[in-house]
């Protein structure tokens, strides 16, 4: 938090304490001042967007506020009503902040969280209301303790890695010096830095991967070109053979670039869970339909069984199509010629509702030591076999990242000589 805001806050809180002494009988005025202070801190600590929202909220608050404040006579009923109003008001202010935000009391217990904070940290799931029960980050916990003790604001960085990588900037701003239960003492707001990090990293990763993986096919292309310019210049048979290989290499390079791009795209958005409601059945039918020609060509019998009508999940339709396309394509490519590939959609016998899609082949299977590593990018069981079938080494990495983005689960099981089953489990939408 910038210094100017610190100073502003100190000045305001001095004034606040004086007025606290003076108007201690006039509870509603006091709460009004408190609400305004909250607004100022919030507006200072956040973006312009937040400032506008906060100012709008304060205007609304001024309009809503009963004008009885100037009267010297208070009845307890009025006082209680005003306290309730102030209580609602500071909660409304937190709700209006366009970033995750919550307020803690002087012991570090949660008083109120806005919707974005609820979604991100899910604080209500735990038994205790203390902040440590839903955020364990040591730096933030220390910042909270310090801010409560010294009443100095503090900004720290939070870095989470699982289930998806995120970087957040958390600001702990002290609000209230009185140690009263139920009165907000600390406001914590978050700013998400994940997206800007990802942009930078994505670019670096993309270039590193692309340059590494494209080097081999490029070198071989260059070799062929040189041979065609030299020795093989007047040999029509060799020329045809070389041109065919060159076309294959060019094809492979373009597939690789395509896969790298889609991997980057998925990784970019991995921290944003999809919100559309999509039905799995039609997606699977579409995939089966698209891959029908490929399976005929490979002489593989592709079957689809969807006994679950209306299996709805929260998902991204295009991405899910890509997941199942990659899995079924792999099953066809690495399955047995003349064999079969079964795709099954079923419901898991667990609460909450989860759907599973199995893609099963009866090919030669995968040795157990490779299983846990199949989803690593460019990990190949056999480099030669993968090249021969036009693999880029990225198909399952893409699948894993998409499934991760859906907060689903990818399971792989295989028995050598009997075949492999790739299972995607997704939470059902209610």
């Amino acid at each position: 938090m910038p210094h100017s805001i610190q100073e502003l806050w100190l000045r305001l809180s001095d004034g606040f304490e004086t007025s606290l002494a003076r108007v201690s009988a006039r509870r509603n005025e006091l709460l009004y001042v408190l609400a305004l202070l909250l607004l100022l801190v919030v507006a200072g600590g956040l973006s312009m967007r937040a400032a506008v929202v906060a100012l709008a909220a304060s205007a609304a608050a001024a309009a809503m506020w009963p004008s009885a404040g100037s009267d010297d006579v208070y009845r307890s009923g009025v006082e209680a009503a005003d306290a309730g109003m102030a209580n609602r008001l500071w909660r409304a202010v937190i709700d209006a902040i366009p970033e995750p935000a919550f307020a803690l009391d002087h012991d570090g217990n949660l008083l109120h969280a806005n919707r974005m904070a609820e979604e991100q940290f899910n604080p209500r799931r735990t038994r205790s209301t203390h902040i440590a029960s839903f955020i364990r980050d040591p730096e933030l916990l220390t910042a909270v303790e310090e801010a409560l003790e010294t009443r100095q604001g503090n900004t720290v960085e939070l870095h989470t890695r699982v289930p998806v990588e995120r970087r957040l900037l958390a600001t702990a701003a002290p609000l209230e010096g009185v140690r009263t239960p139920g009165v907000p003492a600390l406001l914590i707001t978050f700013r998400d830095l994940t997206e800007q990090d990802r942009l930078t990293r994505m670019r670096a990763d993309f270039i590193a991967n692309a340059s590494h993986e494209l080097r081999t096919p490029l070198a071989s292309l260059k070799g062929y070109v040189e041979t065609l310019q030299g020795n093989a210049k007047n040999d029509p048979a060799a020329r045809d053979r070389f041109l065919k290989t060159m076309a294959e290499q060019a094809e492979r390079m373009s597939r690789l670039v395509g896969d790298l791009l889609s991997l980057s795209r998925v990784e970019m958005r991995e921290y944003l869970r999809p919100t559309d409601r999509v039905e799995l059945g039609p997606i699977l039918s579409e995939v089966a339909h698209t891959l029908e020609p490929l399976s005929k060509q490979a002489n593989v019998k592709l079957t689809l069984a969807c006994p679950e009508a209306e299996a709805i999940v929260l998902g991204d339709r295009d991405e899910l199509i890509q997941v199942f396309q990659n899995l079924v394509q792999n099953a066809i490519k690495y399955g047995r010629t003349g064999g079969k590939v079964d795709v099954r959609l079923t419901r898991e016998n667990t609460a909450p509702l989860r759907y599973r899609v199995d893609v099963q082949d009866d090919g030669q299977g995968i040795a157990p030591q490779h299983l846990p590593r199949l989803t690593e990018r460019f990990y190949r069981v056999s480099t030669a076999a993968s090249r021969e079938r036009g693999g880029t080494g990225l198909g399952l990495a893409i699948v894993k990242h998409i499934v991760n983005r859906h907060r689903g689960e990818l399971r792989i099981s295989s028995t050598l000589g009997e075949g492999s089953t790739f299972t995607v489990v997704l939470a059902g939408a209610d």
Binding site: H130, H159, R373
Partner: protein, 236 residues
Amino acid sequence: MRDHIVKAYDQELQSLDKKVAQMGGLVERLLAQAFDAMEKRDPQLAEAASASDAAVDAPERELQEQAILMIAKRQPLAHDLRQVMTALKIAGDLERTGDLAKNIAKRALAVSGENHPKSLMTGLKHMVELALSQLKDVLDGYAERDAEKAVAVWRRDERIDAMYNSLFRELLTYMMEDPRNIGVCTHLLFAAKNIERIGDHTTNIAENIHYLVHGMPLADDRPKSDDTATTLIRKE
């Protein structure tokens, strides 16, 4: 759960949870930092990570003292007693996890000047991610008193074992290919073993959560797939 007549008692019980969460957060960060130091070959980060292990010990000591005091003063029974005992045991497992992570940081320092094969690092990263997500789930499971979540962690440990098997083979192959790799690969092998041990500690914690919630120990045998103890890899 019903509250106690003595309010301070409830606060003491909650304070145990808070200390477990604090330790958990520190251990999670320590493990992530130790691996980052190894991956980025950053000696400063490695030193910072091994120094932060001391921070894990402080809440553990406090927790032990508090638990002993509570047993003496409140003489907890039934669920309360289980809460005190499991907090103590979980703290022990977390402390061990912290030590193992610190050992990874030390090894990161030792290999920071060397080149290591990229595919091995990818494998190790995968393994650390598995361990971190197990640790996260089991700590969440404790905060939520969710025995099912804990049992899920307990069952999933097999994945870390499988990863360890795969890395074990790959590392040994590298060492056989070129004896100059042995120095670095041995450190990576121990780092992988440490992560595998961390996985075992998360299953201990999961067992404790099950006991805390249901009052009886987990009955089944845990699925295991670490076969490195019985494997001999020969040069082909």
